[in-house]
């Protein structure tokens, strides 16, 4: 039992390795060279400063959506709604970016906060439904994703533009983009958002590990009866957890709206940032540090994959398979635990 902590670290690492090995086997079987494939992946992520900038750009929203899922999970809630929370956050950020004219010191924070608030509202609705009526948050958050997607598309077409597919670019006073960072990385789309994302991870760690709020949230996640017995307000904590989670995901939307793209376009489908956040949280064992590390891995894989068809003629879809396999191995961590225990026994 003492080695539980070690297990918690070993399981994701071994899962990643197994995922990569399985990916190599799949490449071999399909007639590609796995060494060339992974070299291309590596170069695609770290090959030069441009790629590194793009990788950081991709990591940024992953950290935030990972936090959004992990934070809710610590209070026993499945936030499948990070996707919708990203979309409304994105919309709110761009909207404020376009609608207001103010100096940067006011404009940018306002746009960022608008995104967080929009995401928080999108989390609040499933939260209050769960707390007051016992409606399962998984169902509500999934439905909220669709509501977010289609309402946002409609607002872009008929409110923000005159039946156009994309809004104008936000003014520099609301932008997270930085010429300095872009210059540094051969004009990648890297932006200051990574600082916000890392700060958010610290915030989550601090709330969960160091405050009475986190103490209550976790207690409610573990055992609602005991929490009630101890005088905690269970409904308040459920709602609060979803609100904070939603705010994290909303910030991820701001990263895209204010940083990467500077605008919002009509979407034919989900961004998948929120859904990938579920995987990031799972791989990161729902801790702040774990989420950051998992987000880095996912960002590297996703950006590196773009280079695989040109670098080694391996289709990018292969990376999706590898990611899926990693998730599979994490989810079946029981098997890894069992194997580790076996080895330990025989080692004696």
């Amino acid at each position: 039992m003492a080695s539980n902590k070690l297990f918690n670290i070993l399981v994701p690492i071994i899962s990643v390795l197994l995922g990569l090995i399985a990916g190599a086997i799949i490449m071999l079987v399909s007639g590609y060279n796995p060494i060339a494939g992974y070299t291309a992946l590596w170069n695609g992520a770290f090959g030069d400063l441009y790629f590194m900038g793009e990788t950081v750009r991709q990591i940024t929203p992953y950290i935030l959506t990972g936090l959004a899922v992990a934070f809710a999970f610590r209070s026993g809630l499945f936030n499948i709604g990070a996707e919708g929370q990203v979309i409304v956050g994105w919309l709110a950020a761009v909207w404020v970016g376009l609608a207001i004219d103010a100096p940067m010191i006011i404009h940018l924070p306002l746009a960022v906060i608008a995104a967080a608030v929009a995401g928080a509202i999108w989390g609040f609705i499933p939260g209050i439904l769960k707390a007051k009526l016992g409606v399962h948050e998984v169902i509500v958050t999934i439905m909220m994703n669709y509501i977010a997607l289609y309402c946002t598309n409609e607002i872009i077409r008929s409110v923000l533009t005159d039946n156009m597919d994309s809004t104008e670019i936000i003014p520099p006073s609301a932008s997270l983009a930085s010429e300095w960072l872009q210059g540094l990385t051969f004009f990648s789309r890297m932006h200051y958002g990574i600082l916000i994302a890392l700060f958010a991870a610290v915030v989550m760690w601090f709330i969960m590990q160091r405050t009475t709020i986190g103490y209550e949230l976790k207690a409610v996640g573990f055992n609602q009866h005991a929490s009630k017995y101890a005088g905690m307000k269970v409904s308040k904590n459920i709602i609060l957890s979803m609100v904070i989670a939603g705010a994290f995901a909303g910030l991820a939307g701001a990263m895209e709206g204010l940083g990467t793209y500077g605008s919002i376009s009509v979407m034919s489908g989900f961004t998948n940032l929120g859904f990938d956040g579920i995987a990031v949280a799972l791989l990161g064992a729902n801790t702040a540090l774990g989420v950051v590390l998992a987000a880095i891995l996912f960002g590297v894989l996703k950006v590196g994959a773009i280079n695989m068809p040109t670098g080694a003629e391996v289709p990018t879809e292969l990376v999706d398979i590898i990611i899926a396999l990693i998730i599979f191995f994490v989810a079946s961590s029981y098997i890894i635990r069992w194997i580790l225990l076996r080895f330990k026994k025989e080692g004696k």
Binding site: M1, R210, T211, T212, I213, Y215, K218, A219, F222, N223, H225, A226, S227, K228, Y229, A230, G231, M232
Partner: protein, 514 residues
């Protein structure tokens, strides 16, 4: 040559890291009631699971009627005539008695249809033969717990058991039902059956058993003839040291009223009135014990006092201040400590370290936090103090509460509740499932609180505990306090009848007849 029906010789069973059974030998004579006595975790259940084929022993052999056997699964145990009456009944509630008994072993007509009539007849015969008085056509959900247990007994008999294992059979029964069960056991013996009784209740052993094998920490300590021993000797064999039964306490010295409940009505989750016009008064420096059969409103009463459940009407006053329908936190802050009935569900956050569980109601107060920031140094300082004072045995204060034994979890809860020094301490079944050593400790703590001038409300289904610890016994029946008696002026017989709804004079008459 003694005629042994079951012999378990030098059984050894290991689990990773522990030896659950270390060279235990148990020999059961034909036609005897053989007790298996030991503390929680001593290895009784493991041993019986070995006999029942659920575990394979590492060493040792099992003989049934003198023949060496290899019991690899429960079906083999059944075929050898070994039957188990589990502590938690394995019954399908919406089915009838007969349907439950034949389940998995149905007599069939030629057409393949179940021959329920034949089964009913057989079961009726069995029931009559052993004086079980079970109606084979009754639905399980309609019959009492005691009856359900008899159905379990019938189930083993129907399958041809010669040796019946009873696992803590009296834990769920009222005193009256226990008496009946003892009669049933005697009639089973008369008909040539043998019984193994797993228990940690010494009184039952003294009353009904012929011989007793004591197990301590996985080792067989001794097998004794019950005639030649007494409860004190058995207890010290079981725990390995002298145990005092009579809880030492001086005369109570009650002072001002702490808790006053007037005409309280509380509904349960199904919206049925379970507390119906209850009145109760509790003074500083006394322990009031609430005796009653489970389900007569005790749980709802506690939940109403502690703010976990809304009341319908009536008032609850603490130190003359109305606390009716206050939020749990306000109730706690007004000076109530609560040792909950279900320590896993309510008492602890099992996945929190035991240290963090020690501040479950006080984490938001100084010095454990400042503003919203927790001060772990202070939290663990307090935790360590309580762990030491209340002898909570844990590898460290960072160990998850889940990993502790029941007794140590309970000591932690008691430490936490008592340490806040509440004017009223509610202890609901504080010793359920614990062994003699832990029980002794907890009773001592409750009496200490009383002597410090606190009021203690004890709710228990164990009459021994109620009589032993309380200064006044309030009998609860059907949502009301139906009688207040002094422990020294009553006995289990009278209490049992009061708990079953007889009024005081009737109960007195019954007493006279005895």
């Amino acid at each position: 040559m003694v005629d042994y029906v079951i012999e378990m010789l030098n059984i050894r069973k290991e689990f990773p890291g522990i030896v659950a059974n270390d060279n235990i030998t148990v020999q059961v004579k034909k036609g005897e009631i053989h007790a298996l006595l030991g503390e929680n975790g001593a290895g009784k259940s493991t041993l019986m699971n070995v006999l029942f084929g659920l575990y394979q022993p590492e060493k040792g052999e099992i003989k049934v009627k003198g023949k060496k056997v290899n019991i690899t699964n429960p079906n083999i145990a059944n075929d050898l005539g070994i039957g188990m009456v589990h502590q938690h009944f394995m019954l399908v509630e919406p089915f009838t008695v007969t349907q439950n008994i034949i389940l998995g072993n149905e007599p069939k007509k030629k057409s393949g249809k179940i021959d329920i009539k034949k089964a009913e007849k057989e079961i009726q015969e069995l029931s009559d033969r052993y004086g079980l008085k079970v109606d084979p056509t009754a639905k399980i959900s309609d019959i009492s717990v005691g009856m359900q247990q008899r159905v379990e007994i019938l189930k083993t008999l129907y399958r041809g058991a010669d040796v019946l294992i009873f696992d803590e059979p009296t834990a769920v029964l009222t005193p009256q039902e226990i008496k009946d069960l003892i009669e049933i056991m005697r009639s089973l013996i008369k008909e040539g059956k043998s019984i193994i009784l797993i228990t940690h209740k010494l009184k039952e052993i003294m009353e009904v058993c012929d011989r007793c094998t004591v197990i301590r920490k996985g080792k067989g300590i001794k097998t004794v003839d019950v005639e030649n021993t007494n409860a004190t000797e058995l207890a010290s064999l079981m725990v390995g040291r002298e145990i005092s039964f009579k809880t030492e306490k001086t005369e109570a010295n009650p002072k001002e009223t702490v808790l006053k409940i007037d005409d309280l009505y509380v509904k349960d989750a199904r919206k049925v009135d379970l507390v119906k016009g209850l009145n109760l008064e509790l003074r500083a420096g006394e322990i009031v014990g609430i005796a009653g059969i489970d389900g007569n409103g005790q749980t709802e009463l506690i939940e109403a006092i502690t703010g976990l459940r809304k009341t319908e009407s009536g008032t609850i006053k603490l130190n003359n201040k109305d606390i009716t329908n206050m939020k749990p936190r306000k109730v706690t802050e007004s000076g109530i400590g609560h040792i909950p009935q279900d320590r896993h569900k309510y008492g602890l956050v099992l996945d929190y370290p035991i240290g963090e569980n020690m501040v479950l109601q006080t984490y938001y107060q100084k010095p454990f936090s400042k503003g919203t920031v927790l001060n772990y140094k202070e939290i663990y300082k307090k935790a360590n103090k309580l762990i030491k004072e209340y002898d909570v045995r844990t590898p460290s204060e960072y160990t998850k509460a889940r990993a502790l034994s029941g007794g140590n979890q309970q000591k932690a809860i008691i430490g936490r509740e008592v340490d806040r020094s509440p004017d009223l301490l509610i202890a609901a079944q504080p010793t359920r499932g614990l062994d003699v050593g832990a029980i002794e400790f907890i009773h001592k703590k409750l009496i200490e609180e009383r002597d410090k001038g606190k009021a203690v409300l004890l709710i228990s289904f164990e009459l021994d505990e109620i009589i032993d610890v309380s200064d006044t016994i309030s009998v609860m029946f059907d949502g009301k306090i139906v009688a207040n008696v002094k422990p020294e002026e009553t006995n289990e017989q009278e209490l049992g009848l009061l708990m079953a709804g007889s009024n005081k004079t009737e109960a007195g008459d019954w007493n006279g007849i005895e």
